[in-house]
Amino acid sequence: MLETVILIVFAMIGLSLLLNVWRLLVGPSVPDRILALDTMYINTIALIILYGMSMGTALYFEAALLIAMLGFVSTVAVCKYLLRGDIIE
């Protein structure tokens, strides 16, 4: 059963990713695209977690952890760029 569920959730996450990409592509504004990308980062975490579960390995956990950390930093950096231009001032 779990396998089927994982597959379904995979599909859900996949669908989410596609929706994110849709938003990323159509925008219309830059903040919209940033938001889409940020969401995408988080959805990839889900993807990796699911992948780990389906393979029964915890080897990829750190990747998920790092995406959580780094996705945040990059979102912040882009926003700062839009706000101030200079992200390290």
């Binding site: 695209r33 790092l66 995406i67 930093v73 700062k80």
Partner: protein, 934 residues
């Protein structure tokens, strides 16, 4: 051994004379002369042996593997030239003592002259053809220095360059010819070459070799059409001209003909090329000489003509012609040297060499005039003088050849005409200068030259007379032995004497003399005729072609190296496309034997996102920030791909690097325009699409071909030994810090150096700081958003903890120093973003460059540590310790190494970003950046 001393003494003379700057002129001259005189005495001591038919040799090993030795050889021909070079050299040096003005540096001239003498001696005495070429080129260099002695004069500089280029070009041809010759024979030894006539002439390369060697000879001895450098070499001081253009430089060319006569001559091609070149040069030189107003110009063309004569003689198919050639070499040297020196006196005393101004010099310098007239008569071939004898032989030999078949009669006729011209220009030399009324506008009041300045001329003129009157007595031995050498052992019976009875040659001489005198008296018709000819100026032609060539090159270079990076890149990609694509077409089947894996949904989706990201990056490339966001998608998907295909370490690395890269690009974007203008033409875009699509297809095909084939690699070793030999279960990490830790060491060096380089790029860089974004929006007021500032403070310890965790587990699980370092760096970058670089600078006082250095040092010294255990660099050490209460822990040198990696990564990344951040952080904006915190 004595043999070696002859050129060596001359070289020594060059060195000694260059150091006589502080001495008086007489001392300097005396010291300089000491060496060639000693050499001359030595030569004289060797002469009897040579006359008796002996060939003296002396060989020292130099580069045996290339067949290049220091090998000298003195046979009759060499002896004759050594005499000529030394005697005339001594006379010229003596003469120059009086010729040079007090402004001119005598040591310099002497040094160059002696160097030149050395080179000439080397040429004629070489027993190794490469060595011969060595000295051959040395004459080009020293003549360059001599001709440009008065370097402040443009004509001296240009003349020197022209001479160097022509003779240098000939030298290159000669080298090629000699190398071919050496290859044919299997040795560069002259003895062997001269004895291998049959092998050489039967060889396929004979013609090429011959032509190349002749090119060397002809350029050096100013044969038509390479003659034009010689008149312009007259910009040199007259002693130099006297030396170079009578006995030495130009004679090197004919020497070469004589030297290789036994090996190369005797074939139709030799006779045709050599005789026709000689004949043309003879006629051309003689004709032009008549029209030169400059005394030295006249002598220059006369020299060309006489060299043509000698060449022609070598090209006639009789043995006696060669003898005559050698004889004329001697005679030309004596009378031409004396004529140059006389010209030097006239120039010296009157300040001009223009025959239109010089008239009636007989009255002012009768003694010099007498000497010059005798020498000029010798040049014209007047009986009782040496020139007559050799010219007579020449005429005789022109009658005995069969070169042009039924048209062979043309050669004596043309020779006679040339003889007539020689008489005419000699007459002009005598009459125009010493008689012909009064001088016009002389710069100086002429008077007789100093006593000792005339001495060398007197000696030479006496020689002309003595040889002319009692030839057998004076030169029989040397002529015979030289001919013996040239003709390869067989010397035909000949008798050099004043009177052979009434015969055809005498008639030719008579016609030449009377025709010449007639020509001279009717010269105004000739001058008119000559003026009506289109002027063919060799120098102009040379200069024009050089400048045309230079211009052409500049245009070409500017079109090819047009400074367009895009072009350079296109070239590179096209080459890659070709090299990578071409073998693909040779393959039978792209796909390999490995069973394919079916596509699953995640892969399909990942690939789709990756491609969408990539294509979007391209589509939005003009709106840079959007493009950057799209690139992030690509980066993210690449790391997902790494997770998917069992590479967790890569995924982690890719993720961290990608974020830092994006941040960096974002920083850059602030200082760069935020949009790219549209400026490529549609054609260019189409071309670029073509190239990139082509490359994409080719690389994809290669990739596909690879991954569908099975692989046997060395990796099993790593899998098998990671735990036992490297002490870790994460094989990738063990490879990185142990099996191939050396790569990692290099890699952190790259990172560290990049950071240093970036700092270097940015220091004191005055930046344009945009006041608004690309749409004209001013920047937001709030610099450090409150919520971000406080949350990032809380995240820092957490991130450090995580990075420590990643670091520690690296050896056994995905992670390691590099990723940990980047995580730490990112945590700090967040602080930079949230608080600004000044805030960080106040709190972080260690200089980044020291952090980087210590990181590299730790990694390096960890590696060196294994030396103390007698092991090679970087040999791993690890041990498991059982500590009570805490449990078993592993200590490994690899861990220390990884600390080095970690520190370097942190230091470098932060240095890069801090350098950028620092650009705008300092107040006031205009002040140069201080070396804060680096």
């Amino acid at each position: 051994m004595t043999l070696l001393w002859i050129p060596l003494l001359s070289l020594l003379g060059s060195i000694i004379s260059s150091m006589t700057g502080k001495l008086t002129r007489n001392q300097s001259t005396g010291l300089t002369l000491l060496m060639p005189i000693t050499a001359l005495l030595m030569t004289i001591s060797l002469a009897p042996a040579v006359f008796s038919g002996e060939v003296i040799r002396s060989t020292f090993s130099w580069i045996p593997l290339l067949g290049i030795d220091i090998a000298f050889r003195l046979d009759g021909l060499a002896l004759l030239f050594v005499f000529m070079i030394l005697v005339i050299g001594i006379l010229v040096i003596f003469y120059a003592r009086y010729y040079l003005s007090s402004n001119d540096s005598m040591p310099k001239l002497y040094a160059y002259l002696m160097l030149f003498m050395t080179a000439m001696l080397g040429i004629v005495m070489s027993n190794n053809v490469i060595q011969l070429w060595f000295f051959w080129e040395l004459t080009s260099i020293s003549s360059f220095l001599l001709i440009s002695y008065w370097w402040h004069k443009a004509e001296a500089r240009n003349g020197a360059i022209m001479a160097l280029t022509i003779t240098g070009g000939g030298g290159l041809a000669l080298l090629a010819g000699l190398l071919l010759l050496g290859n044919i024979v299997g040795s560069y030894n002259l003895d062997i070459i001269l004895a291998s006539r049959d092998i050489i002439q039967a060889h396929d390369w004979y013609e090429v070799t011959l032509i190349l060697i002749l090119l060397g000879a002809f350029t050096k001895s100013a044969q038509f059409p390479f003659h034009f450098w010689l008149p312009h070499a007259m910009a040199a001081p007259t002693p130099v001209s006297a030396y170079l253009h009578s006995a030495t430089m130009v004679k090197a060319g004919v020497f070469l003909l004589a030297r290789f006569y036994p090996a190369l001559a005797g074939t139709d091609i030799w006779f045709i090329i050599v005789s026709l070149t000689g004949l043309t040069t003879l006629l051309f030189g003689a004709y032009v000489a008549l029209f030169k107003h400059d005394l030295k110009g006249l002598l220059a063309y006369s020299t060309i003509s006489h060299l043509g004569l000698i060449t022609l003689l070598f090209g006639l198919d009789t043995k006696l012609a060669a003898v005559a050639a050698i004889f004329h070499i001697i005679n030309h040297a004596t009378f031409k040297a004396s004529l140059f020196m006389a010209t030097g006196i006239i120039d010296h005393e009157t300040g001009t060499r223009d025959m239109r101004k010089l008239n009636g010099m007989w009255r002012f310098m009768p003694y010099t005039a007498t000497l010059a007239m005798v020498a000029a008569a010798a040049m014209a071939g007047v009986p009782l003088l040496n020139g007559f004898l050799s010219k007579e032989m020449f005429f005789a030999e022109t009658l005995h050849q069969q070169l042009l078949g039924s048209m062979s009669w043309l050669i004596p006729v043309l020779a006679t005409i040339a003889g007539a011209f020689a008489v005419a220009y000699s007459a002009r030399f005598i009459h125009d200068v010493f008689f012909n009324g009064d001088p016009i506008d002389l710069p100086k009041q002429p008077s007789e030259a100093p006593r000792y300045m005339r001495l060398p001329i007197e000696i030479l003129v006496v020689l002309c007379l003595v040889v002319g009157i009692v030839p057998n007595f004076v030169i029989d031995d040397i002529l015979k032995s030289a001919s013996f050498a040239v003709l390869g052992g067989y010397v035909p019976e000949f008798e050099v004497s004043l009177w052979h009875g009434f015969n055809l040659p005498l008639l030719m001489s008579a016609i030449a003399v009377s025709g010449g005198l007639l020509m001279y008296t009717q010269r105004h018709y000739l001058f008119q005729f000559h003026a009506s000819l289109p002027s063919l100026n060799g120098k102009k032609l040379f200069d024009n072609s050089i400048s045309a060539l230079t211009n052409w090159c500049q245009v070409k270079i500017n079109t090819i190296e047009n400074g367009s990076l895009q072009r350079y890149l296109v070239l590179m990609f096209v080459v890659v496309l070709f090299f990578a694509g071409w073998p693909l077409f040779e393959m039978n089947q792209l796909s390999g034997q490995k069973p394919l894996t079916p596509v699953d949904v995640h892969n399909a989706m990942g690939a789709a996102l990756l491609m969408i990201g990539a294509i979007s990056t391209v589509i939005w490339y003009r709106t840079r920030v959007i493009s950057l966001l799209m690139l992030s998608v690509v980066g993210l998907m690449v790391s997902i791909a790494f997770t998917r295909f069992s590479a967790p370490d890569l995924a982690l690395t890719q993720l961290t690097v990608e974020v830092v890269t994006v941040i960096l690009l974002m920083l850059a974007l602030f200082f760069l325009p935020q949009n790219s203008p549209k400026e490529s033409s549609s054609m260019r875009v189409l071309r670029d699409i073509g190239i990139s699509a082509g490359l994409g297809i080719v690389i994809a095909s290669i990739c596909y071909a690879l991954i569908t084939r099975p692989l046997e690699s060395i990796s099993d070793f790593f899998l098998a030994n990671a735990k036992t030999g490297g002490g870790g279960t994460n094989v990738v990490n063990v490879i990185l810090v142990d099996f191939r830790g050396f790569d990692t060491l290099g890699e952190i060096c790259v990172l560290g150096i990049a950071a240093l380089g970036i700092y270097k790029l940015l220091i004191n860089l005055p930046l344009y700081i945009p006041a608004t974004d690309s749409e004209g929006r001013p920047w937001a007021k709030e610099r450090y958003p409150v919520l971000l500032a406080s949350i990032s403070q809380s995240l820092l310890p957490l991130a450090l903890l995580v990075s420590f965790y990643i670091f520690l587990r690296g050896h056994n699980m995905p992670g390691g120093g590099f990723i940990a370092g980047l995580v730490t760096a990112v945590a700090f970058i967040l602080q930079y973003i949230a608080h600004g670089s000044n805030w960080i600078a106040e709190r972080l006082t260690i200089k980044y460059r020291k952090i980087i250095a210590s990181g590299i040092a730790i990694a390096l010294l960890t590696g060196v540590g294994s030396w103390f255990f007698g092991r090679p660099f970087m040999t791993t050490w690890f041990e498991y310790f059982d500590i009570p209460f805490i449990g078993e822990i592993e200590l490994a040198s690899a861990l220390v190494f990884d600390i080095g990696v970690y520190i370097t990564v942190v230091g470098s990344t932060l240095m890069i970003l801090a350098s950028l951040g620092k650009l705008t952080a300092n107040e006031p904006a205009n002040a140069p950046s201080k070396e804060v915190n680096i």
